[in-house]
């Protein structure tokens, strides 16, 4: 079943978190509508295997990686027919060229960087776009270098270079929220210095305002760093009580009581114990209602 929607509703970092945690395999297509005034909107296709990004491109002809290799002059006429055959068979192009000695590991890393990192990271800047994820697709092995990156690590890289955070403003954690570190050991992801600093202060006690004070960084910056840590699953945002809303809700407060026949002020006593006979009666009553 395809999942689709607007990036303004479900952001790209959230999509990658979803695909990574679900270890999804399939194709994520991003349609950038900003350029829809021209002849065609821009499409980007990102292929994932078990939650890891394995290839990316702007078309579906299985020749994107081939074009990148050719642009760099790494294909000679002698090997061209062999490569065409590999593409035709949808064989893993990167691994085959490496085993044939045509490409070295460093070259594959460069290709992966251009193919995936540059193209995917730029998608975090897309303001108004649509996404669609299809799970039931065959992966184009001829587009794969053989390298891969967890979707969440791609998110970290993309968000670190994001200049305009307005598109994610509504997703950022509140300044009075606290962060809880979800790790039991060291981070499996490579974090930069500021991310490590915020992670070290994710103790469930300090809110983002206090973290900003301690690190002497602006609150928006801390919110952005915290968002990065949240969407890659390293910390959890725990909202705090908003004391600003106290006055307005006081007027509308509903007063209820434990006595079902009356309504009075809700007491501050602890949660009442429930007997087994009460619960059995309740379940019986409810099942009768059904």
């Amino acid at each position: 079943m395809a999942i689709k929607g607007s990036l303004s509703e479900f952001s790209l970092p959230e999509i990658f978190q979803f695909l990574d945690q679900g270890q999804k395999t399939g194709i994520l297509t991003i349609r950038d509508q900003q350029n829809s005034q021209e002849a065609k909107p821009i499409f980007r296709h990102i292929w994932l295997l078990n939650g890891r990004v394995v290839a990316a491109g702007d078309r579906l002809d299985n020749r994107g990686l081939y074009r990148l290799i050719e642009q760099r002059g790494w294909i000679t006429d002698a090997i061209r027919p062999e490569i065409e055959q590999l593409i035709k068979e949808n064989a893993p192009l990167g691994l085959n060229l490496k085993s044939m000695g045509i490409l070295q590991p460093d070259q594959l890393k460069l290709l992966f960087s251009i193919q995936v990192l540059r193209q995917v990271c730029s998608l975090f800047q897309v303001e108004s776009g649509q996404f669609r994820f299809d799970a039931k697709v065959d992966l184009p092995k001829s587009e794969m270098t053989g390298l891969s990156l967890p979707a969440t690590e791609t998110t970290l890289m993309g968000l670190r270079s994001l200049k305009d955070w307005r598109i994610l403003q509504s997703k950022l954690p509140e300044a009075n929220s606290t962060l809880f570190n979800l790790l039991s050991g060291q981070s499996p992801l490579r974090l930069d210095h500021q991310e490590n600093q915020v992670l070290s202060l994710a103790d469930g006690v300090l809110n983002l305002k206090k973290i900003a004070d301690q690190l002497q960084l602006p609150i928006p910056k801390i919110q952005q760093i915290a968002f990065r840590l949240i969407v890659v699953g390293l910390v959890e945002e725990v909202p705090d009580i908003d004391v600003v809303g106290v006055t307005s809700t006081n007027e509308n407060m509903l007063e209820v009581d434990a006595d079902p026949s009356d309504r009075g002020v809700m007491s501050s006593s602890a949660r009442t114990e429930i007997s087994n006979s009460f619960l059995q009666s309740l379940v019986g009553f409810l099942q009768h209602k059904v």
Binding site: M1, I3, K4, G5, S8, E9, F10, E14, F18, Q21, G22, S170, K171, F180, G204, E236, E237, V238, P239, D240, I241, D242, V243, V244, G245, V246, S248, T249, N252, M253, L254, V256, A258, P260, M266, S269, A270, R271, T272, I274, F278, L279, S281, L282, V283, F285, L286, Q287, K289, V290
Partner: protein
């Protein structure tokens, strides 16, 4: 026994309570402000209250959390006395999944009471599947997930079944 109905804006919290309550649910709807107004023109500002009486001095009290996206002192009062809660999530509003996660974080860090997830609007266009919604809410481990039910807040039968599921889950966790 006190149950709380929490959830995202427009997920059907007030409707849920209204559908099963034997008493008129006090209408605490007020004109919605800010981004909530883009979804509904009215939303619950304080809380909804409903009741089911099933014997002498035996009643189920159902409280609905305020609809606007802030956690004020009312939330704290509600959850500290609740025995269990259901989190309603609208299947066709992925925009709200992040807020649903925040609700769960808020609740689970403050109280440790059983809860289930209730998915609404499953028949609406663009509705996500239960499996994908669970994932979007952060439930990755199949062995460590609350029960999930699909319901229509306007249909009494599905709402009652959801409450049965919640109460039975509460019993199993005792």
């Amino acid at each position: 026994m006190r149950l709380v109905v929490a959830g995202t804006v427009g997920a059907g919290k007030s409707t849920f309570i209204r559908t099963v309550s034997e008493i008129d649910v006090v209408d605490t709807d007020r004109r919605a402000t800010d981004e909530t107004a883009e979804i509904k023109h009215k939303t619950t500002v304080a809380m909804d209250f409903g009741r089911l009486t099933f014997g002498p001095n035996m009643a189920l009290h159902i409280y609905g959390t305020p609809g606007q996206q802030r956690f004020d002192f009312m939330w704290d009062i509600l959850i500290r006395k609740a025995h269990a809660f259901i989190l309603l999530v609208a299947a066709h509003r992925p925009h709200e999944f992040r807020y649903a996660r925040r609700i769960l974080s808020y609740m689970n860090r403050r109280v440790q009471i059983p809860y289930i997830i209730g998915i609404t609007h499953m028949d609406c266009e663009g509705a996500w599947s239960s499996e994908n919604i669970k994932l979007a809410l952060g439930f990755v481990d199949e062995t460590n997930q609350p029960p999930v039910v699909v319901l229509n807040a306007e249909e009494r039968e599905t709402v009652v079944k959801a409450i049965v599921a919640l109460v039975q889950y509460y019993i199993s966790m005792r």
